[in-house]
């Protein structure tokens, strides 16, 4: 049989287990006595080992096996958890992740044996292993009293009995096994398959109940039974079967097929059963008396109809569907097309004479449907940023050691959702910022104490939604950014002249940090300081349509805020006209629209500004920026669109306003070297192309 169809489940689950191992290890490090954590760790390691073994990944299995040994010692209280042990275990986790990576790419686990880690683990075992005579106690389900070995219910034909007799005469054992799947299990057939595969490694499955076909079609409830012929001891079989995930328990005992008596106190019962069942094929088997309370599930072999009724098990926990992201992309594109089509309808209806109220009503209805449809599709594509940020606590812990600084990461808003494509991209920039905070931001511990700050530095990662944007902040309570130092360095490097530096605000100076190859760390460390950090962060975030902002106070700390749009493909925009060209400005960045008489325009430092409700706002004449002849009479009042980016504002002077519209963002293609002020293009209702202005780049 082929395991490839289960590869995906294997990968997903392994990742989950590794993540939970990592999380729990962090807990263990804090509270070495936490029993819940060690139990959880043990469970995860055990399942990992089992799955790796079943899928035939021997190296991975070997590594997890040794990890499991260590956990088992810890669980039995024979070993103390210290940070050096946790270090090795984390290395082992990294190695496991590497295997998974390889498997994901090539379906092979790779050839790295990771012997050094294994040796290290064994060293820990030996050092602490004075009491290790007792082998690690496996999670071996002993024969429970609640459930019966239902293998007794299997009816045996002559031929099967013959096979078993034959096998025993050749020195094999015959075991009857009943496997109970967890109630929450969704892919029962897959689990059953893994169980079968595990058993087939030991010997031959003579007969199963329900029959193999029914098991494959998931036509069984929570248990199935098999007779196995093998040379191996029963314990091994039970061990390997219970290593399969989501298996509740395994019952089994040896059977003497000669007289079909069970080597068990239930022999008499068994024999009776076989004889009665063999001639009344549809008979329900009475529950075995010895077992006590038996679950009311009886699925006689000859009567699969009862099983069929209940069989298509309803997944209780998880009512979700996995969808390929590409399919969602297609859906999103179709919604985009629909919105374009709707826009053309709107524009056609406003032009034609025939427009009447009924027609307009329908168009408005269509408009609301497409907007809702777009929103729903967008929501489907949203995933919590949790998947990205959950690896950061571990990273900070590593940095703790590497930089020899004590620090703590506090995260909030992990559940904040963003478009899948954005979430995939923000991991690296966030990592850069966190590393920056840890390395440059936080002072060394002794300096902190001198300054009267808590010795342990704090780094915060907060995410929250703000209107149509999601804001992710990386903050620290460290030294803050030394504006004077940057100023001097920038002058020293010739980035700016001393004169320029005089006139620059602190904010402008701080923005220098985002220039390529500008690093202020006095020395290059392993963690950061190669001067490729912040400009990469900035360009990546800008490529996603967002922007980065810094707030800092010397001696108190700094905050980097990343602002990202909720969606990438479709936005609400204000359409404006300049000369005879049409441009779109994202509504998200627009604050107000003002009607300003030309007399109110003042000149400050040779730049045009206006005063609006107490604040001075620089004017940007779009016709100059975009090289267009304005058709407006310069005496007339100007239409000024006030846009904001963070705390700064600007007034964009346009000729006419055309109204608000939902637009689909299209790229201009890779051949055209677009200036930054154009962020894309869109297709209007009349089929014409209009360009989208990026207000952020104009400020």
């Amino acid at each position: 049989m082929d395991t490839s169809q289960y590869l995906e489940i294997f990968l997903d689950e392994s990742k989950e287990h590794i993540q939970s191992l990592g999380d729990q290890l962090m807990v263990m490090e804090q509270e070495p006595e936490n029993e819940d954590a060690i139990n959880e760790i043990f469970r995860a390691a055990h399942s990992l080992k089992g799955m790796a073994g079943t899928m035939g990944y021997k190296r991975m299995q070997r590594l997890t096996h040794d990890m499991e040994d260590v956990f088992s010692e810890v669980r039995n209280g024979k070993m103390k958890v210290d940070s050096s042990l946790i270090d090795v275990l984390f290395q082992a986790l990294d190695a496991l992740e590497e295997y998974l990576q390889n498997i994901q790419e090539t379906t092979e686990e790779g050839t790295n044996d990771n012997d050094s880690i294994i040796n290290e683990l064994n060293r820990f075992l030996k050092n602490e292993g004075k009491a290790k005579e007792a082998p690690p106690e496996k999670e071996k389900p002993s024969v429970s009293t609640e459930k019966n070995g239902k293998w007794q219910e299997i009816k045996l034909g002559e031929s099967e009995r013959h096979v078993m007799t034959e096998a025993v005469s050749q020195g094999n054992h015959v075991y009857g096994l009943t496997v109970y799947v967890q109630e929450t299990c969704i892919l029962k057939a897959a689990r059953a398959f893994l169980v079968f595969k595990a058993l087939e490694e030991f010997g031959e499955i003579v007969v199963s109940k329900p029959v193999t076909q029914d098991i494959e079609d998931e036509k069984f409830e929570l248990d199935f039974s098999v007779y196995v012929v093998t040379k191996s001891p029963l314990e091994d079989l039970i061990d390997s079967v219970s290593a399969v995930s989501e298996i509740e328990s395994v019952l089994g005992c040896e059977i003497d097929p000669d007289d079909m008596q069970v080597v068990h106190e239930e022999k008499a019962q068994m024999k009776e059963e076989v004889s009665t069942v063999s001639d009344t094929s549809a008979a329900k088997v009475p529950p075995a008396s010895a077992g006590g309370t038996q679950p009311p599930v009886t699925t006689p072999a000859g009567n699969s109809s009862t099983a069929q009724k209940k069989a298509p098990g309803k997944p209780v926990v998880n009512r979700t569907v996995r969808v390929d992201i590409e399919k969602l992309d297609v859906l999103m594109n179709l919604v985009s097309e629909l919105i374009i089509a709707k826009n053309s309808l709107v524009s056609a209806s406003s032009n034609s004479e025939m427009a009447n109220s009924a027609f307009n009503e329908q168009i408005e209805y269509l408009e609301s449907v497409t907007t809702n449809l777009h929103e729903s599709v967008m929501k489907v594509r949203m995933v919590p940023i949790e998947s990205v940020v959950q690896k950061f606590p571990r990273m900070i812990r590593d940095l703790n050691k590497k930089l020899d600084k004590k620090m703590e990461l506090y995260m909030s808003g992990e559940e904040t959702e963003l478009d899948r494509t954005v979430v995939d991209e923000i991991g690296d920039p966030l990592m850069h910022l966190l590393r920056n905070s840890a390395d440059h931001g936080l002072e060394p511990n002794d300096v902190r104490v001198q300054r009267g700050k808590p010795e342990v530095g704090s780094i915060y990662l907060n995410a929250y939604q703000d209107g149509n944007n999601v804001v992710i902040e990386v903050a620290d309570d460290g030294n803050g950014i030394d504006v004077q130092a940057i100023r001097e360095k920038a002058i020293g490097r010739g980035t700016i002249t001393a004169d320029q530096a005089e006139n620059m605000t602190s904010k402008e100076i701080i923005d220098l940090l985002f220039l390529p190859s500008f690093s202020t760390a006095k020395e290059v460390t392993e963690v950061s300081g190669r001067g490729v950090g912040l400009d990469v962060v900035k360009s990546k975030i800008e490529a996603l349509g967002g922007d980065v902002d810094v707030k800092t106070e010397l001696g108190v700390g700094s905050t980097f805020s990343i602002r990202l749009p909720l969606t990438l493909a479709i936005i609400q925009a204000l359409m404006v006209e300049i000369g005879d060209e049409k441009y779109a400005i994202s509504l998200g960045s627009i604050q107000t629209i003002e009607d300003i008489p030309p007399s109110e325009v003042k000149l400050v430092q040779n730049k045009e500004v206006i005063q609006l409700r107490g604040s001075v706002i620089p004017l940007v004449r779009l016709n100059h920026v975009l090289d267009i002849e304005s058709v407006k009479n310069p005496e007339d009042n100007m239409v000024v669109v006030i846009v904001k980016k963070g705390d700064s504002q600007a007034g964009l002077v346009v000729d006419e306003l055309m109204g608000q519209q939902e637009i689909v963002i299209k790229s201009l293609g890779k051949y055209i070297n677009c200036s930054k002020i154009i962020s894309g293009a869109t297709i209007l209702g009349d089929g014409e192309v209009a360009l989208i202005l990026d207000a952020n780049a104009l400020i």
Partner: protein
């Protein structure tokens, strides 16, 4: 690429070219890279881009940049007439681009004996875009090297 093929294969290789007119000269564009030929339509100007980009057009819901091959080759600026066409070119990389030509004449099939490689002369700019010359019906067709035409030589 084609030259290599010619050398390795004994049989005569056949190539199809679309013959277009730019000014008084005839140029050939290998048909395998041509996605579409559309009539002249409204081109939305894009400010602050390379001079030879006339702007973008909407082709069945896709936004496609359009360049003036005349400006790129240093010829006099285009005058759009009724016979002007935009040829949509799709290279292997997948992105489409439109080039404006004065007229689309015909499709010709040439075998490799009719195609002669021209000596590369970097002095004259337009020469850089011509890889070989095809002889057809007594006339000459300069075959455009699309990678060079589309590529951004200036690198800005």
């Amino acid at each position: 690429m084609e030259e290599n093929l010619l050398e390795t294969q004994e049989e005569l290789e056949l190539f199809q070219f679309i013959v277009v007119r730019l000014g008084d000269e005839q140029y050939g564009i290998n048909i395998q890279y041509i996605d579409n030929i559309v009539r002249m339509q409204h081109i939305t100007r894009v400010p602050k881009v390379q001079e030879y980009f006339k702007g973008v057009i909407n082709l069945r819901g896709e936004v496609i940049p359009v360049m003036s091959i005349r400006i790129k080759m240093g010829l006099p600026v285009d005058e759009f007439t009724n016979s002007s066409r935009i040829i949509i070119i799709k290279m292997e990389s997948g992105a489409s681009i439109g080039v404006i030509v004065d007229e689309v004449r015909e499709v010709v099939t040439l075998d490799d004996s009719c195609i002669e490689k021209v000596v590369y002369d970097a002095k004259e700019e337009r020469q850089n875009f011509i890889r070989s010359v095809g002889k057809c019906n007594g006339g000459l067709i300069s075959i455009l090297d699309l990678t060079a035409v589309i590529g951004d030589k200036e690198g800005n």
